[in-house]
Structures are given as structure tokens and as C-alpha cells.
Symmetry: C2
Subunit: 139 residues, 2 copies
């Protein structure tokens, strides 16, 4: 993990947790954005513990809805996300997580998850696979 | 609306709709990102009709969960979003909507909704109010 990962003291974590409106499942959507480039890498979900762990350790942790378990991004692939900054929106129901992405964000081996768009009237894949992964980190 | 707004024919709209995994409420989260700067403006929700209208007209329309009605962004404020590009993620359960934002995206009058972050250990407002709005466009 880069030495630049941002961590927060408990009081700041508590202040952020108090500002978040978790949904009926106890989750909040978290948008991961690459520091510097502004590239939107992925969207996943966090529960209270994931927010607290992310802020406490500086390494981004989500909640996997499919596995119903904490999802420490990069545990399998090594493609971790180091925390740069964390913002909460006006309503408190969405997080913007500014990160330094190691490797690729998408379980398909693409740099970000938003690689399908309409081109020439058809839905096309618009970004290349950069790394061959085993797809084990699907949310 | 800028002349550059992107619109799509029906076949392309149908292809996009087929790729989207709407949730149990028939909704999909949509991240609005400013074309060019990469600024993440807001996150809101779309139902099938909102996706189809957005792609058909080139003007971004969401589904307001609080009002349970279509939310044509800017109807009240004039701060519309013109569609530049629309991407769907690997799982089909999140949209990235590249837009040209007129005015401000946030109902608080700030340019984007993610204006709260921890600074010096406290949750602070880190972006100024640019325009005095009546808060009528809250999702």
C-alpha cells in the first residue's frame, strides 16, 4: 500500500458514520474514483464496519452483497485500493471514495467496471482486458 | 440544451435496457459525471422509463424515490444535464452517465453533491454554495 494512504482517528470515523444514511439493509453505495485522473472505477456497497475499517486502515473495504461478507478489495488479486479522501453527499446516502488503485478495479481485468456503451447503435465493449484475473472478486 | 446532447435510436435503447439489472424496486443507481473534468456530480436512480427517456431525448431524467415520480433534472432550476455518453458496468447494476451540467448539480446550490469530508479530524463542508436554490429538487 502506498505510504500516502489516508487514515482517520476514531472521532472522525464516528462523525462520518453519523452523517451516513444507511439503507434498510444497512448499506450505502460507494463510488470509487481514481485520484488524479478522476476516472470512475466502480461502485460497490459499504456497511458501517466497512466504512470504519476503510477509514481506520486506509485500505478500501466493501460489503459483498453476493457473499454477505466483508470484501477487502484486492485480497485475492492484490489489486487493492488505497484511500486518498472520503466524501459523503448532501443527503448522506452516497459515498465518494477517492482512491489510488493498484492494478485494475474490475474483476474482468479491465481498469474500471464501466466498459460497456453504445457505439454505432450497438452495445459494445469499449475498454480492453489489461490483466487476466480469475473473476474471484465479483461483488 | 447544448447541440451536442447525445441521443440514441430505439434499438440501442433496447440493447442498453436489456443489459441493465434493475433491482427489486425496478431501479438502477446512476452516477453522473461531468464530461471533461471527470467531476462526480451526484448519484441518483433510474427506472426503465428514465433510462429510455434519457437516451431518447439526450436530457437526463431520473426516478425520484422520495416523490415516486420521474425527475427531469432541471425542470425547476433550469440546471439540466445533457447526455454525452452512457455506460453500464460489468454486472449491469450501475450506470455511469457522462453529462454536460448546466449550472449546478446539487440541490444545495453546490456544483456537486459530495461536499462533506473530514478535515482536521472533523466533518467539514468543503465546497461553496454557488447558486441560491429553493432546494426543490431533492431526490
Amino acid at each position: 500500500m502506498p505510504n500516502t494512504a489516508t487514515t482517520y482517528p476514531k472521532a472522525a470515523i464516528d462523525a462520518m458514520l453519523a452523517a451516513i444514511q444507511f439503507d434498510a439493509q444497512g448499506l450505502v453505495p460507494a463510488i470509487a474514483q481514481q485520484h488524479g485522473s478522476g476516472e470512475v472505477l466502480m461502485m460497490a456497497w459499504m456497511d458501517r464496519d466497512a466504512v470504519a475499517e476503510t477509514m481506520g486502515t486506509g485500505r478500501v473495504c466493501y460489503w459483498s452483497r453476493s457473499r454477505q461478507a466483508p470484501w477487502r478489495k484486492g485480497d485475492t488479486s492484490g489489486h487493492i485500493q488505497s484511500l486518498v479522501d472520503l466524501r459523503v453527499d448532501c443527503d448522506g446516502d452516497t459515498l465518494l471514495v477517492e482512491v489510488e488503485q493498484t492494478g485494475v478495479a474490475c474483476h474482468t481485468g479491465r481498469h474500471n467496471c464501466f466498459f460497456r456503451a453504445v457505439r454505432d447503435g450497438k452495445l459494445e465493449t469499449i475498454a480492453p482486458v489489461l490483466i487476466d484475473l480469475d473473476n474471484s472478486e465479483k461483488d
